[in-house]
Amino acid sequence: MAAKITVYQALNKNAKKLHEDWLTQQMQDEGLREDLISNEELRLESEEFLKTFLAAIKDDLLEDSNSSNFDKLNEMLAGISINRARHGFSPRETGYYIFSLKQAIFKTLEKEITDLKKLYTEILRVNKLIDSLATVTFETFIRGREEVIIRQTNEISDISTPVIQVWDNILALPIIGTLDSSRTQVVMESLLMKIVETESTIAILDISGVPAVDSLVAQHLIKTVSATRLMGAECIISGIRPEIAQTIVHLGIDLSGINTKASLSHALRFAFQTLRLEVRKKTDKTAS
C-alpha cells in the first residue's frame, strides 16, 4: 500500500511535520535575518505557503509549473520575493527560503515511500518543480530590486535640479550630472516656472557639475536658453572649464550667441552689472 502513495498524499499526511522540518531547516541557515523578519512572521508565512503549495499539487501534476494550478502559488511566491527584495534581503536568503523546502520535502518522502525506484522518480519530479519555483523567486526578486533603482533614479533627477534665487531678479540653476533629454525637460520646466513666479530677468545655468558637453548636451542648453529668452529673461551659462571650452571648439558647436562665463561668480558679477547693482566694501564714516 505504501508504494502506491502519491506525493501529495505523502506530504499532506505529514503536513505538520513538514512545516516544522522546513522551519528548522530555514532557521539552521546562517543567513537567516532575524533582524528583518521575526520567527513568528516566518512561521505564518511558511504555513500559508505550504497550504497553497499542497493545494497546487493536489492533482499530482508536478511537471508543469506554468499550469493554472500553480498560478496562485507563483503569485504568492512572487509577493514574498518582492517583499523581501524591498526589505533588503540578499538573493541568497531569498533563494534559501524555497530551497530549504526541498530538503524538508525529501525528508518526508524518504520516510513515506519505501520503494526506492519510486522514491527516485518522485524526488526528481519534486526537484524539478521546486527548481522552477526558485526561478520565479529570482526573477521577481530582481524585478523588486530594479523597482527600487528606478525609484531612486527618479528621486535623484528631482533633487538635482534646484532653482535658487540668489538675488532679486536673479536665478541660479546648478546642473550636476549628465544632461539627457528627460533631465533637460525637468530643468527647463522648473526654470521657466520659477522665472514666472519670481519675475526674474536673469537666469544663470551653471554647468560645472556636467562631466562632458557633447553636441546633444549643447543642443539641450541652446534650447533652454532660447526658451528663457522667450520668457523675457536673459540666460547666462557659467562653469565652463578650460578642457570643455577646447572640446566645444573642436566639436564645432556655436555658442557665440549665448552669454557664457567661466565661473558662477563671474556670471553673478555680470548680472549685477546688467541690473545696475553695485556691491561695495563698507567704509567707516566715523573718521569724518
Binding site: T178, D180, P211, A212, V213, D214, S215, L216, A218, Q219, P242, E243, I244, Q246, T247, H250, L251, G252, I253
Partner: protein
C-alpha cells in the same frame, strides 16, 4: 602595435552611456592621459555612442589600450552596430548635416576630436567606427 587591455561593453539603453563613459575615463586614466585629451576622447565617444543608440538601437564597443612602436600609447575604441547603415557617408561627415533633428556635429566633431578616425558602413548591415586617441596627440 600591441594591445595591452581589452574590454567589450554592450550599449542598449541611455543609462549605459554614463557607465560606458566612466569605463573610457578609467582607460584614459590608466595611461595617464591629460585632462584636455581625456575630455576630447570622452566627448567623441559619447557622440558616437549616442549615434549608435539613436540610429541603430544600440550595439557594442570594444575598448582597448594600444601601444605603438614609436612608444605612443593610446586608447582605441571600436563602435559596431547592426543598424541600417549610412546612405551617404560624405554628407554625414559634413558639419550641420543631420537626418535626425540634431545639430549635425556628431560625426565630423568626433573626427576633429581624435587622432585617428575610421568609418565603415554597409547599407542594411551596420556601421563600424574606430577612433584612436594618443596620449599626447
Amino acid at each position: 602595435m600591441i594591445v595591452l587591455n581589452k574590454d567589450t561593453i554592450k550599449i542598449e539603453k541611455e543609462q549605459d552611456v554614463v557607465f560606458f563613459r566612466n569605463r573610457v575615463a578609467e582607460y584614459a586614466d590608466k595611461i595617464k592621459m591629460g585632462l584636455v585629451n581625456k575630455t576630447k576622447l570622452l566627448t567623441a565617444a559619447s557622440e558616437l555612442v549616442r549615434n549608435m543608440l539613436r540610429y541603430a538601437n544600440g550595439g557594442k564597443v570594444l575598448c582597448e589600450i594600444i601601444s605603438h612602436a614609436t612608444l605612443q600609447t593610446g586608447v582605441r575604441l571600436t563602435f559596431s552596430d547592426q543598424g541600417p547603415g549610412i546612405p551617404d557617408i560624405e554628407k554625414a561627415m559634413q558639419d550641420g548635416y543631420s537626418t535626425g533633428k540634431s545639430l549635425g556635429l556628431g560625426l565630423p566633431g568626433a573626427k576633429r576630436l581624435v587622432s585617428i578616425f575610421d568609418i565603415k558602413t554597409q547599407l542594411g548591415k551596420g556601421t563600424t567606427v574606430t577612433i584612436t586617441k594618443w596620449k599626447n596627440g
